[in-house]
Each structure stands twice: as C-alpha cells, then as structure tokens.
Symmetry: C2
Subunit: 478 residues, 2 copies
C-alpha cells in the first residue's frame, strides 16, 4: 500500500496531533513530529498504540505499510520536505501566529498548512502571515485516527488541494462555505454543552442520565443520518415542509435556555425543504425508514458484541428471555431458535456462508452449557475449541427467517466432542444446512487440550452415551 514519498509535519503532539500523526503514518506517509514537551514521544506513542489496534481493522482488503515516524528538534527540521503541515498547538492566537511564522520561514511554498483550531477563523490565523492563503482550518474530531470528518475553512484553491489529500487517506473533508466562530460542528456541541450545564445546575439530570438519554436515543440516529434526514422521515411522505409546519411552533416555546431563535419565514422553509430534497429525495420515506432501521439494527448488534450501551441492554434482555437449557438427553437436542438479522446477509441477498458457522457455533455453546461448561466454567479457565467443521449448505436462508437447530452428540469421550447439527427453517420445515463439528476441550491458560473437569466430564460422558443409542440423523445417511 505504500506508494508515495509523502511527508506530514505534525506541530504539537497531544491527543489531536498524535491522532493526525497516526492517520498519516498508517496510510504510508512519513511523519515528523515537533513538540517541545519532553513527554511528547510517550504521549504520541500511546495514541499510536490505540490507532494501530483499531484503524487498520476498518479495512477488509488492505494492510497499511506504515511510513517512518521521527521526532524533530525544531519546527524547521519537522517541516523540511513536508507536503502537509498540521498545527495543533494550544488555542491562543499569539502562539498560533508565532508557530505559523516559524513554519512559513522553513516550509515549501506549496506545502499545505492546516490548523486543528476549534474556534479561530482562518482570517484570524492568517493575520501577518508571509503567505496567508497557505494557512487554513482543518478541524478534526477525536479520535482523529477513526472519525473521518474534517472541517476545512479557508481559501478555496488551497482547500481543494487539501481535500484531495484527506480523501486519499480515508477522511471525509467538508468545505465550510463561510468562516464563522467554531465552524459548524462545535456550534452544535457548544449549544448542547450549554444546555447540559443548565440541566445539571438545575438538578434536572446527572451526567449519567444525560449520556443515557443520548446514547440510548437520538445519538444512535445521528450516527447514521444526522439531523435533517432523520426529521425528513419524521415528516412522513409530506416531507420536510410538513415537519417544519408541525414542529415550527416549538421554536417559540421555552424548550431551551437558549432563546435567540431565527424566524421561520417562507424563504427559510423553502431553503430547508429544497436542500433536503437534494440530499435525500432519491429515497422515498418508506425506503429511508428501512435504511434507518437496518442501520440501527446493525449498529445496535455491533454494540451487543462489545456489550456496551444499547448493545449491553440487548444482552440483558437476551439473558432474561432466553429459553431454559434443554434437559432431555435421550433425544436430539433443540439447541437454537432465532431470527436472521440484517447484518448476516451478503451481496447475494441471502445469509452469508460464514454466519452458518455462527449458528452452529452458538448451537455448540448450548450443548456446552447443558453439561456445565458455561460462562463460569470458561471464566475458570476451561473451554471447548472447535477444531474442524464440515458445513453442507442445502438451501438459502433469508432476512427474518426463523430458524431452529437440532443437535445430536455423535461422540463424547474425554476431551473429544463431536456434534452433528441440522439447521431448519421454521416456516416450511426445510433443511437449510448441516454441520459436523469437532470440538476439543482445552485449558485457556496453556491453550492446550486437556480432559474436562469433574462434573462436566461426568455429564458430557452421560450425554454422549445416551445420544449414541439414537439413530443417525437422516441427513447424514444421504
């Protein structure tokens, strides 16, 4: 992947500067960092460590070849040969001016000089500069190595070059049309922050309650559609104009402590409705609802895997509603019954082959739990690992299908456990797939195979003996 001789100079190596350094470095750029703080190398190292364990895994096709990282002893040394120079020094205008003067006396005249400033306008940053047009706002969001959006403010010709660079390293540059204090995003963050301070001061809510109302609610919507596309849906087929007509009156109500409100003239309503049509008009409201719902399901299920926020809530729910473990050991075991979610589909419009492995893995877990090899047992350092799977794909599985898995123990002797699973669609009884799964009991400490302990050994052996008396599943005899 490394196919350039690009160099970025990072001036100021805190969390933001370190994030920029990681973004460039992991996209194959050489990076030189200047920061007079003696702790800078350690601090940047910590950010880089976080970035290396997360950013590369966003791609399904590439493995970044990192550029060279160096720490410079002066701005002069850092900016030598740099195509992009990123200033992330403290938010004081006189420090920024001195930094830009130092940068511009040593950098190439066509180098791009971005500033991470949250609040200053480019015209303020450019005051007294040798080449004012070279300096622009490139405002990132923490963590810079993961969140893609960058607000670009400055002279258009410069910004267009900056945009190309940022797009090439996977970011989402946004050219801001007019310079204003705090650009765009921080105006929202500041409005919310001010409102939050009032709620806490007035004893209406705690920090936890405010965070919960966001992350279990509108925060999930904003992660995928933002504000206007979300409200477009709320307006229904009548669209944005209807939404504004319906909720416009709230503007004059005391729904916020922050009361300077624009007048909802016909002109402003027209502007919003027209822009919203351009943005989302290619989808009907019905389509937007389904896109939104699929996004929400996929994100909430992703958080389920992390056991966090809305995902942790789903795990608690599952624990509460899960059926009791199967008990009868002298017949095939009904190990699973579930619905096929949208995040399991692939480009063929059916369940991806890998998710059959997920279903059978989950079914195997139920057998383990039946014999006492459950979460506590695993926490105690013992588990079963799958060593071989033979999956036969017999029929397609689709979104929303309710499926069940019937499992038979073929062999359970000592550390060896062989299961045979049949996955069946509820609606029509169709056999969708089969799996011959071989598991081996292991110590999670040594990562080596070993015999199950006491109770588990006794129960798995009994289960194996009872199941050995059953006829082979019909689908195995084919």
């Amino acid at each position: 992947m490394r196919a350039n001789n690009n160099k970025a100079a990072i001036i100021g190596g805190g969390v933001i500067g370190g994030g920029w350094a990681a973004r460039f470095l992991l996209n194959g750029w050489d990076v030189s960092i200047y920061d007079p703080d003696p702790q800078a190398e350690r601090k940047v190292g910590e950010v880089l460590e976080n970035a290396r364990r997360s950013l590369p895994a966003l791609s399904d096709v590439s493995v970044p070849e990192e550029g060279r990282l160096s720490f410079a002893s002066s701005i002069r040394e850092a900016v030598q040969g740099a195509n992009w120079i990123q200033e992330s020094v403290p938010e004081r205008l006189e420090i920024k001016h001195a930094t830009f003067a130092d940068i511009q006396s040593h950098c190439a005249p066509d180098a791009l000089i971005g500033s991470s400033t949250s609040g200053f306008k480019p015209s303020e940053l450019q005051q007294g500069a040798a080449i004012p047009d070279q300096i622009f706002v490139a405002h990132p969001f923490n963590p810079v190595y993961l969140l893609p959006v960058i607000e670009l403010v400055g002279v258009e010709a410069t910004l267009l070059r900056a945009r190309d660079v940022l797009e090439a390293i996977g970011m989402k540059p946004l050219l801001v049309r007019k310079e204003i204090d705090a650009h765009i995003a921080d105006r929202f963050l500041e409005a919310v922050w001010r409102e939050a301070l009032w709620l806490i001061k007035d004893g209406v809510a705690t920090t936890q309650e405010i965070d919960d109302v966001i992350r279990y609610g509108f925060g999930m919507r904003w992660a995928q559609m933002g504000l206007f596309e979300t409200y477009r849906i709320a307006g229904g087929e009548a669209g944005m104009r209807h939404f504004i007509a319906q909720f416009g009156p709230c503007l004059s109500w005391p729904w916020t402590k922050l009361m300077d409100v624009p007048e909802l003239t016909d002109e402003l309503t027209d502007m919003i409705a027209t822009q919203s049509d351009e943005q989302s008009g290619m989808h009907s409201i019905r389509e937007l609802e389904r896109i939104r719902d699929d996004n929400l399901v996929a994100m909430m299920r992703a958080l389920k895997g992390r056991n966090w926020g809305a995902g942790a809530l789903l795990n608690e729910y599952d624990a509460r509603v899960a059926p009791p473990l199967p008990t009868g050991i002298d017949k095939p075991i009904e190990t699973l019954r579930r619905v096929i979610p949208v995040d399991w589909l692939d480009y063929n419009g059916h369940m991806n082959e890998s998710r059959y492995g997920q279903v059978f893995s989950d079914a195997g877990d139920v057998v383990m739990a039946m014999v006492g090899a459950d979460k506590d047992y695993i926490a105690g350092g013992l588990s079963y690992f799958t060593v071989a799977n033979e999956i036969g794909y017999l029929n397609e599985t689709r979104l929303g299908d309710v499926i069940q898995v019937r499992t038979q123990v073929l062999e359970a002797k000592g550390k060896k456990l062989r299961l045979y699973h049949e996955m069946i669609r509820n609606a029509d009884g169709e056999l969708l797939a089969t799996c011959n799964q071989l598991l081996i009991h292991v110590s999670l400490e040594s990562r080596k195979s070993c015999e199950p302990e006491g109770e588990v050994l006794a129960r798995i052996t009994a289960l194996g003996e009872a199941q050995a008396r059953l006829p082979r599943p019909a689908s195995m005899r084919d």
Copy 2:
C-alpha cells in the same frame, strides 16, 4: 416467550402510537388501538411491518410470539382490561385533557396511563384528572420499536411501576428528576435545531453538510458514550475537572447564537466532576479510550455492511486501496491479506470460528473476480454459491493479526468449483486454518445451478487446468 395476559391500549395510532403498539405486540402483549382516523389501520400496519423485520432480529436467543392486535371503536373498548394505556394524540392540551377524561372513566384504577408528549409537563397533563397520579409522561423516540430510551416524568410511585413494565419489554426507562418543558432530550434536540436553522439561514451550511458533519463525526461518539463520558476522555487522566478548566472559557465566546450561559462556579464544576466519577470512574481513561475505539470500529464496520454513512466511506476507501487481482494462474493464488478486527472476536478472546468462514468466503470471491465473476457479473444475475465447506482450525487467531490466504483450485469443471484455502499468520508464518470449499455456479433468478457463461467459463476452465498441474498443498497431505 409469551407468558402473560398483559394488554396495552394505544390511543392515537400514528408513527409514535404504531411504534408503541409494535413494541408491546412483539413482546407478547395484546394490543388494542383506538384512533378515529379511517387510515389508522393502514398506518399502524406499515409501522408494524417495519418493526417485524427489525425488532425480532435484535435478539440472539428469542423468537417473539406476538400478542393479539385489535382496533377498537372507542376509547372505552380499547382500555378495557388494559394494564398500560399510552396516549399519543396531537400536542394540544385540550385534546389531551379530553382524552384522559375518557380514558379514566373506563380504565382500571391501577392501569398505567403514559403520555408520549414531547413538551407538556405531567402537572399540565394531570389538570382536572379524576386520578392525577395515574397520568405520567412516557416520552419515546422514533422508531419506538428500536430505540430503547423512554423519559418518565410524574409521580414516583407510578413511575416505578412503569419502569418495571418498560424494562421487561427491553426498553431503557429514565426517571426524570424534575418536570421541565420538553423533559431532557428534546432540550438538546431543540438547541441543535435552532443552531442548525441559523447556519442554514446564514448560508454557512446546507442540510446535507450539517448531517455529514454529525454522522461522520460526533454522532458516532454519541451513539455509544454520550456527551460527558466522551469529554471525560478528552480531559485525559486529569479528568472532567481538567476538561472544564480547559474548555470553560469557550462558554463566554460567541460559539453559538444561543447565548444564555450558566456561570461555571466551583460548585457546578464539583457537581459535574463528582457525577462523572460516579458514572465512569470504574474505568481509567486508557480503558475508556479502548472501549470507545472498539465501539467505533464495530459500529463503523456495521455501517460498512449497510454501505451507508461512515461505512460507505470505508467501502470507497477499500475499493481505492484494494490490491490488483492476482494474475498468475500457474501457482497458488494469494487471495487475501487483511487485519483481524475487534468485531470478529468471541468470548474466548480469539477470532470466532464463524469468521474463518468469512475469510474463506472472501478468498473465494477473489478467485471468482479473477475469472470475471465479479460484481457486474453478479448484477447480471449469475454467481457462485458455496455448497460445502470443510474447515480445519489449527491455531488461534487474535485481534490485529495480519493474515493472508493462499488458495489453490482443486477442480473447475462446468458449474463445479472446488477450492482449497490455507490461512496463514504473517508475523510467524503459522498455518492457522484450512478450508476445502465446494462452490456451484447458479442463476440468481432461478436460484438453480447452471454453467458459467462464455468468458467466465473459459477462464475458470483454464485456471482449473493450470492449477491441476500443481502439487497438492502440504496441509492436505497430513
């Protein structure tokens, strides 16, 4: 899953009422809807259709058995025997008062009566009621069948009973400490909405730009940690107090059009810092950073599967940086090289067995693309389906491992394609897993097998013949 005789009465069947109906119904409650609108049944039906295709798939263990749905011809009929009555009529106080009067003359005295109002306070709703304490605010967020948070405002004894009900149906009730206009969340939404109107009116940004700055940026953070936990991380090890000291001065700057600002007294700073410690103090900042990053990676990868927002951006990036397709056909093919992401791990702390299937499925896709069976070919109605996989798990795969897959074509004749994959860890050359994959060429229209067409058939046959001359992979001979 259906283990109750609970009944919910839904008064007002729009998008919000329909969402409530779906939430109860899909959790096994009987639901009776009253709405004088002759279109109500159709409208609720549309919401239910959306809910049925998304809500059940949030669970990995349960399949909801739906309650009975009916449409009542009067409030009296709807509330008969109902434990929960939810009012979602238009936001006009006189309509709400009349509705509550009708409800209370016919419902059980211990029924819970929630209102979906965005703006009214419970004291306003309760004016003139027969049993004021029975009525409370239960404010949901659209789509009600997916977003879990509910703001509860009213008399505590009633709210505690309401909380139990909502938790049982998978929601996240939040007891609001004091009644204020617009409760909590809508104060934020309103503040952001007002700020957004100014930005559009002043020509600073369009609806699309505002949505992008949110969904590619802080919206992703808010979906998982909200406002304060996010800022706690920004404060670093010095914590919330440091963050406030650092960013407090912005409050007096013109960063928003909305300028009524609370004074940051020591007392308010203490309140926030203490609450934040209680909320997040069990994790170090380092831990919070990793939790945040893992959440972001998992959510962005989930959106990648939906090809939407931050996920669509990742897909564009992948398309740009993907290595060229392998060309040499007379040696084993290097089909894949990638990093193992956090959403592929399981409770054993290693890559889940199902994800090996994903890796080999992706490797098979590369062979397909090599012979011209690529996205366009699939869009044209032809593809390969996997019909059998034999996976051998030889070594564990861990977060961040760089792996590659070496693929050999064992057989390529007509519609039959057999591949053998070896998955290897880059760092130590360790063989992690093998897969014997049998694919069959199919028509996506008839979903039946058929011969590949022209060019693809020629190329796959040539590939098969060239590869047949290679020795069998070493791992196959074991």
